[in-house]
């Protein structure tokens, strides 16, 4: 009896092979396994036989939407910035997508980073992805050389180590609190949609910090980021970060120092997160990519919470619904504005 993920893998290979064979897509973007347990390699299948290398399991943690716009561009004839777009239909790319990834694709369409028509989305309703760091913590950072996945457990082995771990215990924080596991746009589905999940405390991590004093919050923030090595894995793993020149690389003016100094690191993390406000789908790529175990996702989660509280919307739920910070209402809340609070006092 194959596991759920094994079945998905089979179906994914089949669909990808078909898309490539029939010439509907020029490439199919998925995952393949590599040399280290629990780390998957995003992989571009370009020939039908490459489809056999595709794999699906609980370690597909980086958001594939991140790769889409450049991959699509690589199939366009080269042109200079002001040249008109090429005529005629351009090659398409197939891609596997879970709920959050598909929502990022929606955001990319809304922000003109790609065209919906050029991607063939194979939807997969997410069962949550595993946090490698949680697994490492579970075995007290012992060396792991192999991990076998069952539907509800992981069998972890290493020198002098053999342990079965309950899968849900080591699912990433963002997946544990995920409300929308289903893809919002797709051309074909693998398996069934499961519907929105009812999560009572989806913002618990954020609330815990909100309840601290300002001083303790600053303490939390600085100690969370103090191991940052400024490698920008969080930024580069993020499908929202596509600016040709990131603010950290701007030289006129230079917004932030590039070295590993506390203030500069803090400003980097503040602005990186803030630039994702109203756009972030809580896919957790940033946190999964971080080599230092920084939980920068809590920052974007806070932004997600506030945007939801203030404007009642979440990013990427539909192509028609504008992104919350690219639109406005006349009567948006404004108690935070000094002069408005004066009015209140005068009344």
């Amino acid at each position: 009896m194959p596991t759920k993920n094994e079945s998905i893998t089979q179906e994914l290979r089949q669909k990808a092979r078909h898309l490539l064979e029939s010439g509907q897509v020029a490439a199919f973007l998925g995952y393949t396994s590599g040399s280290v347990p629990m780390v998957m390699k995003p992989f571009v299948a370009r020939k039908p036989e490459d489809a056999e290398r595709l794999e699906w399991n609980s370690f597909c943690v980086l958001n594939l939407a991140n790769y889409l716009p450049p991959l699509l561009r690589s199939f366009e004839p080269p042109r200079r910035p002001n040249d008109p777009p090429p005529e005629g239909p351009l090659p398409k790319v197939g891609v596997a997508a879970t709920g959050c990834w598909s929502r990022n694709m929606v955001v990319q369409v809304q922000e003109n980073q790609m065209e919906r028509e050029r991607v063939v989305i194979i939807g997969i309703s997410s069962r949550g992805m595993v946090d490698r760091k949680k697994v490492l913590n579970a075995v007290n950072h012992a060396e792991i050389t192999s991990v076998k996945e069952e539907d509800n457990s992981l069998l972890v082995k290493g020198p002098g180590l053999e342990e079965e771990i309950n899968r849900w215990d080591v699912i990433r924080d963002n997946c544990q609190t995920c409300v929308h596991p289903d893809p919002v746009i797709f051309d074909e589905m693998i398996g069934q949609l499961q519907g929105d999940r009812d999560i009572q405390d989806r913002f618990r991590q954020v609330e815990e910090i909100e309840n601290l004093s300002a001083q303790d919050r600053w303490q939390w923030f600085t100690s969370e980021i103090d191991s940052c090595i400024r490698c920008y894995a969080c930024r580069n793993a993020c499908p929202l970060c596509y600016c040709p020149t990131c603010f950290v690389d701007d030289s006129r003016p230079q917004w932030v120092g590039k070295s590993r100094e506390p203030v500069d690191t803090a400003i980097f993390h503040i602005l990186r997160a803030y630039h994702c406000a109203g756009r972030c789908t809580d896919c957790g790529s940033c946190e999964s990519a971080c080599p230092m175990g920084i939980r920068m996702r809590i920052l974007t989660k806070k932004l997600q919470k506030d945007v939801l509280d203030l404007y009642g919307t979440e990013a990427g739920m539909s192509i028609q619904q504008p992104l919350p910070l690219s639109t406005y209402k006349m009567d948006d809340p404004q108690d935070f504005v000094l002069t408005e609070s004066f009015k209140g006092e005068k009344k």
């Binding site: 300002a214 003016p253 803090a266 803030y274 406000a277 910070l325 406005y328 948006d332 504005v337």
Partner: protein, 146 residues
């Protein structure tokens, strides 16, 4: 600023005020012309619209040693560019909460709407912001030092 200066009793905060060209800057001008008294702690940066002010600019002010920041634009509905301040309002609402979330004291970064005719209002805001920042003391969290 070195710590010695910061500890002095007569410390005056430095506050960067980003004022929109069409309303708040004119309001500040009017405050001056009308001889309303307000503290000398504001350093004014004229911007075309409150919608022009980005989080980058606010953080750059703090990084460079500002003790406080004020962003002020036209009242909603009065924007010279029709909707610039509406967008700004959403962005600032989120930013203000976010900065407080990571531990920046409430009162460091402030927002207001001041029209070209509200000279008195401007002086009042300047006083209020200055007194808030004074209460908080010199900014330390995001100030670059070497």
């Amino acid at each position: 600023m070195n710590d010695k200066a910061k500890n002095q009793k007569d410390w005056e905060p430095k506050i960067i005020a980003f004022l929109c060209n069409w309303c708040s800057y004119a309001g500040a001008d009017l405050a001056g012309v009308s001889r309303y008294q307000y503290p000398p702690s504001l350093r004014i940066v004229r911007v075309p619209c409150s919608g022009r002010v980005s989080a980058n600019m606010i953080l750059d002010a703090l990084r460079s040693g500002a003790d406080g920041v004020l962003v002020s634009g036209c009242h909603p509905g009065d924007c010279h560019y029709i909707s610039g301040n509406y967008y700004a309002r959403r962005r600032f609402a989120v930013l203000k909460n976010f900065l407080e979330f990571i531990g920046i004291e409430p009162g460091r970064v402030n927002f207001s709407w001041i029209s070209a005719s509200e000279g008195e209002q401007f002086a009042e805001v300047a006083k209020e912001v200055t007194s808030r920042v004074k209460k908080l003391g010199p900014a330390r969290h995001l100030v670059k030092e070497f």
